[in-house]
Subunit: 282 residues, 4 copies
Amino acid sequence: MKEIRQKGEYSYVYSRYREPIEYVNSGETVAIYTKDAFENRIKSESDLPGETLGKYVNPQTGPIYIKNAEPGDTLQVKVKAIEPTRDHAISALIANFGGLTATEQTRMLHDPLPEKLWFYEIKDNIVEHNERLKFPWRPFLGTIGTSPDLEALSSLVPSNHGGNMDVPDVKPGNTIYLPVLTEGAYFYVGDCHAGQGDGELCGGALEIPAKVTLEFNVIKDKSINWPRIESSEELMVVGSARPMEDAARIAYSELIIWLEELGWDSLEAYQALTQVGELYRG
Amino acid sequence: MKEIRQKGEYSYVYSRYREPIEYVNSGETVAIYTKDAFENRIKSESDLPGETLGKYVNPQTGPIYIKNAEPGDTLQVKVKAIEPTRDHAISALIANFGGLTATEQTRMLHDPLPEKLWFYEIKDNIVEHNERLKFPWRPFLGTIGTSPDLEALSSLVPSNHGGNMDVPDVKPGNTIYLPVLTEGAYFYVGDCHAGQGDGELCGGALEIPAKVTLEFNVIKDKSINWPRIESSEELMVVGSARPMEDAARIAYSELIIWLEELGWDSLEAYQALTQVGELYRG
Amino acid sequence: MKEIRQKGEYSYVYSRYREPIEYVNSGETVAIYTKDAFENRIKSESDLPGETLGKYVNPQTGPIYIKNAEPGDTLQVKVKAIEPTRDHAISALIANFGGLTATEQTRMLHDPLPEKLWFYEIKDNIVEHNERLKFPWRPFLGTIGTSPDLEALSSLVPSNHGGNMDVPDVKPGNTIYLPVLTEGAYFYVGDCHAGQGDGELCGGALEIPAKVTLEFNVIKDKSINWPRIESSEELMVVGSARPMEDAARIAYSELIIWLEELGWDSLEAYQALTQVGELYRG
Amino acid sequence: MKEIRQKGEYSYVYSRYREPIEYVNSGETVAIYTKDAFENRIKSESDLPGETLGKYVNPQTGPIYIKNAEPGDTLQVKVKAIEPTRDHAISALIANFGGLTATEQTRMLHDPLPEKLWFYEIKDNIVEHNERLKFPWRPFLGTIGTSPDLEALSSLVPSNHGGNMDVPDVKPGNTIYLPVLTEGAYFYVGDCHAGQGDGELCGGALEIPAKVTLEFNVIKDKSINWPRIESSEELMVVGSARPMEDAARIAYSELIIWLEELGWDSLEAYQALTQVGELYRG
């Protein structure tokens, strides 16, 4: 199995303007090494993010060129395994970043909240900081996607190409479908998590570097609008927009389209999703 | 056990300005009869909502005066049972109402979507319209709450007093906590559902009239800001606001306060909820 | 001319459940006395709001019963004059209130911003705190409206009945149109401002008590959905919703309806408003 | 004076990954030719957008490399003149585009609104389609900006680099300040309008191709966060975000920073903007 490590600088952008670091065939399974969201720069709980990190966060491994992938195709990605390459996960409160603080997007006159780090030991399927902050090992890929056709988008942003979706269902055993928007797909991945609740509330999940095993398949002449996820029991669509009402509208609209592909009538699909659809914020 | 039926007209408002229909003691268990969201007016699948319904939807049974409840107290409501009083549930597409249509709040120039009704038979713990639209019996209370102190709020609106929250966890076995905002609490309930997905997407769940068995207890000198729900495994807070980002902020902020009451530090609670908090839209 | 002063407690709610303080005929001009948003309780710049104010802010004078006003009519209100009844205006930073701070609606973990008061002398058409904070006298009514039909809404809330719109065009010389939603209209007014920018950014305009001269006329059998304002040069509609995108959609949709009443085609009105419509946040 | 015309294909992206079409000195005044938002493809009122346009709209002329501009500098752009290069302006209703329709971002189940075109003659400072749709000539630049540092952003998107702001104050006589985010600034411009109301309601302003005269100056070692505009009487900041509440917060926060640069205290600036700040949606 081919092992892929970043060549040169990590990418902080989903971009077809960068040189591919590797070429992969449809049908191939590869192992990809990713750094954590802090590019592995935080070494101890006293390394405050504001002093330790560079200009960007969320480094990506890529772009990986998927042979024979062309606009209008779909890239199927089966998540085979996520193995941590460090014995601990790190979560952080970063200034002006997170759900219950003023941010660059939601500006206020308050002083920033204090920065803070939590280290968690990973052992025996448990991720543990102390007796209270002790969680099961539930690894997933925070950031995964193809590249937009014209744009190059920050690895902090989710959109229809995937990107920083932070959806816990991007996990081993599940299959992800991504739109191919440019020749070769220009696939990136990074930001693995040892677990996370809905919404990545404080802005920092249980961040880990990892070895990620993925199987790629190009589905020819089949286009999708937004990322889809298939588990053994569920069909899922990831919609990303602000406000969240619009994200929910995208996800449910695309689920209706998916059900139509499976033979449903659109109003019947709308009705079914009303009664059993589930919605969470990644 | 006392049985409570509406006296006079059903209420379409959570209001302390109406006359109590019944007085209940703290500690008492009562059975309350509710009509469905259409006030039971829809008799067949050809009774289109626009022609059949009156000016308002979502009738409430109440107000029920809870003795000894005073502002600053909390009203604990244990949901003991929900029994349908009709052999079928009804879901509806109503013009300009729902998640994937223009509404009175999100105005557009489109013609309304067509109105449509679905009848579902309730039998053997199955709620069934046809082979595709066939769901398990998962009953809950769509609308429940106390009355605001000064305001009288539409039964279509959720707020800190409860109201039209449409949260599937308001179900038998769970305990709801509501703030007491006015003397006697002026409790209302209605809008039972035989089941619903997250978001009540098309605007109409599986609507049923029901007999609802509730146990009331007044917790003196204990105030809460927003409704709380306790199951055997989870602590939940219902936050309601637009956009949904603000609703999520309220719910997570109040969960942090709840954890602080249980001895947690606020930043540690923020961290824990980041890793294992769950979020859904009622 | 009849002079109307509040009888009993000021109202902090737009409600038809209160007893009218006065009855007014269609065609009548009256003078109404209002207190400032702090119920005139702040006496010096050291009276911090958190210590000085009661549970509510924004007291209203009313309800005033408008004879012969019935649901389906429109209440026309001509603003004839606004005269301050105090020689100074007051602006305040109140904890958790305003545009660049966490609020009860947009919850965060920050400590509140400091509270602060600014007193402004009103003299010679100038409103002056110091050389920098010195503005022209541009009085308007911050809060004006009829009562909802079933609901009673806080005087801090704007909705289709009017209420706390904080629109600087509700000023002498302009005419306001309000929907009549209940028999007698149950009109309230308060919260006069010596001036304000768009958005009432910090949450406190130049707050004044005032004597307000208004002429009321009932327009029979003519219903409107949202408040309208007419100046000598402009037609305006006030839409209130969160997020502001929805407020803008309401206002523009209702302007299109207004232009249709004047003989325009709806798409032509949509086109015209695209090219010359103006939009500001009250 | 140097005249700049697009070399090769027009750009539909603000990107430093494209080859500069021209190099300009600080202090230089140049004339730049832009095409209209439809790349001048619509030739008659029967050329419906869905059939006539390609995959993208809003072509930009650029990138123009500004010599000596480096990250941390500010690019000052004085708008000297906007001259139409066609005798008519065009406005369009495009499917799923605009303020009162479902869009790709705000998805719904409605059929799209009809497409429609309006041609306007430009003559004697009047822009006229018919007696009703007849407006003054008020030209401005809809889209102007530098390039982001890592990202390449669609020319339909506004952000802190500028882009598709659609702000009518980007007009002759006013000065625009843009952050320099990458060496050479990689400046683009396009999407001139013969006029527009607030919000570009239907999605199409009075679109024109134009000859635009701009003077560029690099202000060294002076960084700004968001675009600023200076007229003879006003200081303006353009904030772009969804929802509009966040855009307003950005703009007002940056105005406070601007006033602080001019010697104001932040809370005093907050107070002043509360009383005289103005807010409109571009």
